[in-house]
């Protein structure tokens, strides 16, 4: 398959990852934090797909399936946590939950 060069796919994945990370660090709203995490997960998934396509190996796709499963579980748990957070602190500001000081 002579499609896009691998640099393009990888570059997109990196851009998505950085976007997600920036969101993760900057946003305090827990919902956005979760979304950013999803973006980062999917960006790594993209990287696997691209790499799998480049070397004609099935590993990339199987990794992507694993990541989807992980992302689904993460979303479910993350939303559950978010609901608990809201219940307890009446806010979804993630810094409000920073009670763990060493």
């Amino acid at each position: 398959m002579t499609g896009l060069p691998i640099q393009y796919g990888m570059g997109l994945a990196a851009l998505l990852f950085i976007a997600g990370l920036t969101g993760l660090v900057v946003r305090r709203n827990a919902l956005f934090v979760l979304m950013c995490l999803e973006i980062m997960l999917n960006s790594t998934g993209l990287a696997f797909i691209v790499a799998g396509a480049r070397w004609q190996a099935p590993d990339g796709q199987s990794m992507f399936i694993l990541i989807i499963a992980l992302a689904a579980a993460e979303a479910a748990i993350g939303l559950g946590l978010l609901l608990q957070l809201y219940k307890r602190f009446r806010t979804i500001d993630i810094d409000a939950a920073s009670e763990m000081h060493g």
Binding site: R27, R28, S98, E99, H101
Partner: protein
């Protein structure tokens, strides 16, 4: 002969009974306390008879094997020979008289307070320890007695513990004597290491074969023994505790700090005489220590106001004579003086105790005065005792014993020490009669009630009789145990020297009479101000040794101890957990609970790692 152990068992049983049942009635306590020592004295008398009848050979009674580790084999054995039997006689005989007197004294001294049983428990225990000291056939057993008497001395000095000064006097006595004890202990280690035994007779037998005359090791060993003896016998430089030890009840002063314990040093040196004979320089030193102590103590005694302190300093001075005798090789004379001294000094102390009780616990001689009329018995006994102490010629026991020492000093060529002794005799005469004149002559300043009853009279009178020339008739079976030290007879020269010392003593008496009989104007004026006053204070503080030791040892130690309120070595070790703690607080500041911050750091870390991997 196997009765010997009973002399230990009776007082020991008494001490145990008295300490297990401290709340027994006072009369029971007195009976047990004095009775047990009485029985011990009786047994001693029987043992003496048997021992003499058997020809006076040394007798060993082994009770049990004390310590046996490899070659280190120490038995709990009693050794009876002429020296120990003499000491036993003094300890149980004079000890019993003092216990008997104490049964009278303590009733008046306690005035109903509890503590009778405690007093006699300590006293009985003391007798046991002292007997072990003189009967032990090895140095370790001797050391057991040695420390035991020190403990009892401590307990009895601090008997009236409610007065802090008494308790601290006891403390001082124990600490100072312990310093001497440690030297003695080191001496024991040395002797065992060299000879592989601590048995005294074996040591004395082997010492001349192992050691050369005047070798380094024998000198070291002798010095260590001497320092041990100095501690117990209150000789220079460990003499400072004895005067303060007068805080104890008066019978204690008589028994421990006059008749028996303080002479233990003399006994020790006499017992180990073989070692000192191998170290002539150290033997000379013994004499010098004695000579200096007798002068210092004599001068101190001339400026005391407390009747017991006068007698205490006189004790130090008399023990100085004994040391002087040991130093000049007059071994038998030293032990003779030890016995005579035990008679007249316990007489003086007990009489002083009787006077103190009669004057309602007043001890300052300047507040007494004129007691000759109200306390005639005490007066005459004090005169007898004082005369013996001053060695008035011919009629007193002290004359014979002290003169033997002075004569042998001259005869053995120790002219300087003889001079020390002679000056000492002069001073002795002055302070003794100063005390008697101030207490019993002049105008009466205090109301006094004479003591009554047999327990009061009998011991005093017996001791009084023994202090006269009758006491000097008691022979001592020391031949074969100690070198006689006697020199070839120069009867005429000896008589000349006896006359010299007699004259000195009588002049001293005259000086004392001139100064302290009558209105005492001369001495009062001399000590009122200026240099006279300073001299008086200097003598009164026994030439300032206490001050010196306080500045030199006590204060530095307290200073060090104050620096150790906090454990500084631990503080240094605590640097390690301190560092861990700093690291902990630094790292835990990072762990602040903000998830976003963690993500950031994680990413930064990954980026750095990647960069290192890619470009590194």
């Amino acid at each position: 002969m196997s009765l010997l152990v009973l002399t230990l068992i009776f007082p020991l049983a008494g001490a145990i009974a008295l300490s297990l049942f401290p709340r027994m009635p006072d009369n029971t306590a007195r009976t047990i306390g004095a009775g047990s020592v009485g029985l011990a004295a009786l047994v001693t008398a029987i043992v003496m008879v048997f021992w003499g009848a058997n020809g006076g050979y040394p007798y060993i009674q082994t009770l049990w094997q004390w310590i046996a580790v490899g070659d280190f084999d120490i038995n709990f054995s009693l050794y009876l020979d002429g020296l120990s039997i003499t000491m036993m006689g003094v300890i149980t005989g004079v000890g019993f008289l003092i216990h008997f007197f104490a049964a009278w004294y303590m009733v008046h001294d306690l005035e109903g307070d509890p503590g009778m049983a405690r007093f006699f428990a300590y006293m009985n225990l003391f007798i046991v320890a002292m007997l072990l000291l003189v009967l032990g056939d090895n140095l370790l057993l001797l050391y057991l007695g040695w420390e035991g008497v020190g403990l009892c001395s401590y307990l009895l000095i601090g008997y009236y513990y409610k007065t802090p000064a008494n308790a601290w006097a006891a403390y001082k006595a124990f600490v100072v004597t312990r310093i001497g004890d440690v030297f003695l202990a080191i001496g024991l280690f040395l002797l065992y290491t060299v000879f592989g035994t601590l048995n005294i007779q074996t040591l004395l037998h082997e010492a001349p074969q192992v050691w050369n005359q005047g070798g380094v090791m024998v000198n070291v060993a002798a010095v260590l023994l001497l320092l041990g003896a100095c501690g117990k016998s209150a000789q220079l430089p460990l003499q400072t505790w004895l005067a303060d030890a007068m805080a104890g009840p008066t019978p204690v002063s008589a028994l421990i700090h006059a008749a028996t314990m303080v002479t233990a040093g003399v006994y020790l040196i006499a017992r180990t005489h073989g070692i000192f004979e191998l170290a002539p320089a150290i033997q000379e030193l013994v004499g010098v220590v004695g000579g200096l102590t007798l002068l210092i103590a004599g001068l101190a005694a001339t400026a005391q106001t407390d009747i017991k302190r006068v007698i205490a300093y006189s004790t130090m001075s008399q023990i100085g004579y004994m040391f002087l005798a040991l130093g000049v090789g007059a071994w038998q004379a030293a032990i003779f003086h030890l016995m005579i001294h035990a008679f007249f000094k316990s007489l003086l102390f007990l009489t002083a105790g009787s006077v103190i009780i009669a004057c309602h616990h007043e001890q300052n001689i300047f507040k007494m005065g004129g007691l000759r009329k109200t306390l005639p018995l005490d007066y005459w006994l004090m005169v007898i005792g004082g005369a013996a102490l001053a060695a008035l010629p011919l009629v007193t026991a002290g004359f014979y014993s002290k003169d033997a020492i002075l004569w042998e000093a001259v005869a053995n060529g120790h002219g300087v020490l003889w001079l020390f002794g002679l000056v000492g005799a002069f001073i002795t005469s002055i302070y003794t009669f100063r005390m008697i004149f101030i207490v019993f002559h002049g105008e009466q300043k205090i109301h006094a009630e004479a003591g009554r009853g047999i327990p009061h009279h009998l011991p005093l009178i017996v001791l009084g009789v023994l202090s006269t020339f009758i006491g000097a008739l008691i022979g001592q079976p020391l031949d074969g145990v100690l070198p006689s030290g006697a020199v070839e007879d120069y009867p005429w020269i000896e008589i000349i020297f006896e006359v010299i010392s007699s004259v000195v003593v009588l002049v001293g008496l005259g000086v004392a009479a001139a100064l302290f009989l009558g209105k005492r104007q001369l001495i009062t004026q001399a000590t009122e101000g200026g240099p006279g006053r300073k001299t008086w204070l200097f003598f009164n503080s026994a030439l300032g040794f206490d001050w010196l030791y306080d500045k030199g040892f006590v204060q530095p130690f307290l200073w060090v101890a104050r620096g150790h309120r906090h454990d500084w070595i631990e503080a240094i070790v605590n640097v390690v957990p301190g560092l861990a703690s700093i690291g902990n607080s630094g790292l835990s500041a990072v762990q602040d609970g903000r998830v976003r911050w963690y993500a950031m750091v994680m990413f930064a870390g990954t980026a750095v790692l990647l960069a290192v991997l890619m470009f590194g």
